[in-house]
């Protein structure tokens, strides 16, 4: 039975690795400028984790195979080097591995969170609420009008609580239900939540950031591939959480301008 267990463990370990090696369920295709850093970090980690996984499972299986059913007069053997060798191995191997991952991984993180958005980044505002995202473009004046919580009315399509009668800056603001952006242009996304905790996750864009009620956060990114992608919520926000999403339309600059004009006309 021990041998069967050993074989089972090896089979499970190898079978578990196959979909990863074969890329049967790959990472969503990267459409961002900095995403490759995260992907490389992911691949490095997959190598290290994968080798650790396979090596330890196979070692476990091998020892089970070898040391069960000992001869009646067998004596217990001591692992060469004893515990000290293993502790040192753990510190050296895993310690270096962890340190290296941590240090190299910091770069991808830093580009996403420490580097400020470029001066020419296009500002877009996103508001999360149960259970939809709405977006706001500042319009020709380049300014976002102020928000008034008490004016928010979904029944009247005033999702942000704009006062277009009195606030000069709000008059030309363009509110949309999908996020269209020009390709290869950095976007500075200003995030706030209307009600609860939500999240902004676009797998292909390698962007993932929670909305925190009461906090104005921002992220910045550049999409490099024209197409239609999904923005999904990953922070449990209530019964409609699963269906809280919006589309990200990455368009050519011309298409984007046309789209924005068209949306402005619909306001």
């Amino acid at each position: 039975m021990a041998k069967l267990l050993a074989v089972t463990i090896v089979v499970i370990a190898i079978a578990s690795a196959i979909p990863i090696v074969m890329h049967i369920w790959p990472l969503p295709q990267d459409i961002s400028v900095n995403g490759h850093l995260i992907d490389e970090q992911y691949t490095d980690t997959m190598w290290e984790a994968g080798v650790s996984f396979l090596a330890s499972q196979i070692l476990l299986a091998y020892f089970i195979w070898k040391y069960s059913r000992p001869a009646p007069n067998a004596t217990v053997k001591r692992f060469p080097g004893g515990a000290a060798a293993l502790v040192i191995a753990a510190f050296v191997l895993v310690g270096t591995e962890a340190l290296a991952l941590g240090v190299f991984g910091a770069k991808a993180w830093g580009l996403a969170y420490f580097a400020p958005p470029g001066a020419d980044a296009m500002p877009v505002q996103v508001q999360a609420g149960q259970f939809a995202f709405y977006f706001r473009y500042p319009g020709p004046d380049g300014k976002f009008g102020p928000l008034h919580a008490n004016l928010i009315s979904e029944a009247n399509a005033n999702f942000f609580g704009l006062d277009t009668t009195n606030d000069q800056d709000s008059k030309d603001d363009i509110v949309t239900a999908e996020l269209a952006i020009p390709v290869n242009r950095e976007i500075h996304l200003l995030m706030h939540s209307k009600d609860l905790g939500h999240s902004f996750y676009v797998p292909g864009l390698r962007v993932h950031q929670d909305f925190v009620p009461g906090l104005d956060l921002s992220i910045h990114f550049t999409a490099t591939k024209i197409g239609r992608y999904e923005i999904v919520c990953t922070q449990l926000c209530g019964l409609g959480h699963y269906n809280m999403k919006a589309y990200l339309e990455v368009k050519s600059p011309e298409d984007f301008d046309a789209w924005l004009k068209q949306q402005a006309a619909l306001q």
């Binding site: 939809a132 979904e154 399509a157 999702f159």
Partner: protein, 242 residues
């Protein structure tokens, strides 16, 4: 010219309704009851109703080949205002409860009807014709009625509910934030205007009444009318465009 057209429209409606009443018969003239009819209009240019961007749920987009519009003010032919509810203010007659069970449908990610008038205690059915889940979330004043918030996945049976006390209750779907409607719970006879703004309240016992017209979000107007036994009275209303 305009006036005569208008008159013609009213007359033809009256004739039509009379015919309908004759066909439906029995109830209208029971016990010498009369009726109140009229038209509700929007005074001023019809407001621009924004198209609804339903892109968050592709099912809804597909269900509306031409984009649906908000229904804050639905103006029909001749400025008639749909979805206004006309009832008798301060009705002191016997509390009557309709035995019919009206249906409030979630269809193509919109509410049909947009406004549902009900008697207190009257059972109504919420059904879904959609292949996407909706949550029905009426928001009554908690001191007046007990609210609820319940989803209806595709294929789920109707939800049967009723409202205990008179109140205008907004209802919405949080999953599709544009979906909104109203339950208007009123005592006594009532009617809802059709797409040309017409209404007829049947079964009005003879007497003098204050007729109240409600239109969303919370506009009301009143008029005094007298209904003779078996007779009919007219009350027209005009709401100011915003």
């Amino acid at each position: 010219m305009k006036k005569s057209l208008h008159l013609g429209a009213v007359l033809s409606t009256v004739v039509l309704i009379s015919c309908a009443a004759l066909i439906l018969g029995q109830k209208v003239n029971a016990a010498g009851e009369g009726k109140i009819s009229g038209t509700v209009k929007l005074d001023g240019p019809a407001p621009h109703m924004r198209g609804i961007d339903m892109s968050k749920d592709p099912y809804c987009v597909k269900a509306n080949p031409t984009p649906a519009h908000y229904e804050t003010a639905v103006v029909g032919a001749g400025g008639g205002l749909e979805n206004a509810v006309i009832y008798l203010d301060g009705w002191s007659g016997a509390a009557q409860t309709e035995t019919s069970v009206p249906v409030f449908d979630q269809k193509n990610c919109m509410y049909t009807p947009h406004v549902l008038a009900l008697d207190p205690g009257q059972t109504f059915k919420v059904i879904t014709s959609d292949q996407t889940a909706h949550n029905i979330h009426p928001l009554p004043n908690p001191m007046v009625n007990v609210g609820w918030n319940q989803s209806q996945p595709p294929g789920a049976p109707p939800v049967e509910k009723s409202w205990k006390n008179p109140e205008v209750i907004p209802v919405k779907c949080n999953i599709h934030p544009w979906m909104n409607g109203y339950f208007v719970v009123v005592k006594g006879p009532y009617a809802t205007t059709d797409d040309s703004g017409h209404y007829t309240i049947n079964n009005v016992p003879p007497g003098s009444y204050t007729v109240k017209a409600w239109h969303e979000p919370d506009d009301t107007q009143t008029q005094k009318v007298t209904v003779a036994a078996g007779g009919s009275a007219t009350a027209d209303f005009a709401f100011k465009a915003k």
